[in-house]
Amino acid sequence: MIRWATYIGTAAVHGFTRNPAMSLASTLTVTLMLTLFAFFLTTDRGLQAAVGVLESKVELAAYIDDNAKVSDVLDMKKRIEADPAVARVDYVTKDQALQRLRDIAANRPDFAFTEISTNPLPASLEVKMAEAREAKRLAQDLRAEIGKGVIYDVVDNPQVVDQLLTITRVLSVGGVAVLAMMLVVSLFVIVNTIRIAVHARRDEIEIMQLVGASDWFVRWPFILEGMIVGTLGAVVALAILFAAAGPVTTVMLDFVDILPLSFGPEFVGQLVASVFGVALLVGAGGATLSVRAHLAK
């Protein structure tokens, strides 16, 4: 067991050091891929946080006809609440609406409030969305109710969310596309690095097979070498990311100070695990492909 492990470990390290230029090239490629991957994960998490904050602010208001029966309004409220995309529905009566206006006026010196005898403000159902992307659909549903005795107007303002969702979607698709390309390039480079290592040790492999070494025994040193490349790439990528995290966050906060961009230890843990996971998978996968091609000859 110990000799076995020693043999595999030594062979893997020799493979890596025997051809430093190629090993360095593949490590750098993997580093680049992983840096992009980590950056993508972080940005995605940041945008999702931003979307979450904005989503919680998205509201729809359905103004209630003054002549609507309270029971009908409550039915409508229940109906809207039943929608899974809805977080909460508040029934704001005419009096409450007027009181709000008074409160706002009281806090704004530039806003004079004239006492009026009648209340021109309508009652409303204020809808808080759980899923902002559904706001448009719900607004359309409610608009269909206009003129049927309960709702006479619907106000929604989903533009900000729409834009943000579009950005997120573009970034997701673009990010995944770039990542996929980088993944292919990394695999390609690792496959070639390991192919060179396999070629350098082809006599040894021939003898191993001749004396009855299992295919796994032949493969392991190369898989380990691929994993060394991946691990080094991951370490460098994370080092770059953490070194850059401070300044970048500062700039980002200056730029978009409303976004609550802070990443807790949980996210950092996930990030490190993901980066290492991808690194090991790409390293071991590329090596396996390369050795399999050789063994199949």
Binding site: R3, Y7, L210, G212, F217
Partner: protein, 236 residues
């Protein structure tokens, strides 16, 4: 004790075996051959007669185009890929060009065959020492192949082939690169290994050795067995 360990049972059987290459030429044609346990068989014939192909079939480096090759009870064509290593551990192979690893010492080259087949611990050292003393290389254990004579290199290769205690030893032109005196040293070792119970199959062009040993001779010509004699000569 399996039946193959008893003398007289075939440990190698070729049953109507043909090997046809993609270009259409036959390397072997309708070959029937049974080799009994502890037998010593010379494969003779001119270059291209099919000796090396036959050997490659036995160690499953090639598969027969038709017919059955059975080695130690295993039909090699039907053997799952994962079980090929197990078959190879039962067969020691020695080549004309030795195939030693230049960066490893004599002892390391021999121990390599144990380590890569999953052996470890003091066992590796003991078995390595055992075969090195068998081939008379105990004093040379820490030398590298380029510090050895041709005969010593072949003895190292032989030690490596024997260290896993194979049931069959296959030698493909083992004396092809050696001078006559050294060749005889190797042949003496091979006959000794055979006397200890290992089945020997040796392809050779060395008429002097074949004629002196008077063992079974299987003569191949254009992929067919044209002669199979119990106490044969190199040429009929």
């Amino acid at each position: 004790m399996t039946r193959n360990e008893e003398e007289g049972w075939p440990v190698i059987t070729l049953d109507d075996v043909s090997k046809r290459f993609p270009n259409g030429t036959f390397a072997l044609r309708d070959v029937d051959l049974a080799i009994e346990a502890a037998d010593f068989v010379f494969l003779v014939g001119s270059s291209g007669a099919g000796k090396s192909t036959l050997i490659r079939l036995l160690i499953r480096e090639e598969l027969p185009s038709s017919g059955r090759v059975v080695v130690d009870g295993e039909d090699v064509a039907r053997l799952a890929r994962g079980r090929v290593p197990k078959l190879r551990r039962k067969i020691g192979v020695v080549f004309q060009d030795f195939k030693l690893l230049p960066t490893k010492t004599v002892a390391e080259n021999v121990a390599f065959a144990l380590i890569v087949t999953g052996h470890s611990g003091p066992n590796v050292r003991e078995e390595t020492d055992r075969v090195l003393s068998l081939v008379g290389l105990s004093q040379r254990r820490d030398h590298f192949p380029d510090q050895l004579s041709g005969g010593e290199q072949q003895r190292t290769a032989l030690a490596r082939a024997l260290v896993n205690r194979p049931r069959i030893l296959i030698a493909d032109e083992p004396t092809g690169n050696l001078d006559p005196v050294t060749s005889w040293e190797i042949i003496k070792l091979l006959t000794r290994v055979n006397e200890l119970g290992t089945t020997m199959v040796m392809a050779t062009h060395n008429a002097e050795i074949v004629n002196a040993l008077r063992r079974r001779v299987v003569h191949l010509d254009h992929g067919r067995i044209v002669r199979d004699e119990r106490e044969g000569q190199y040429a009929a």
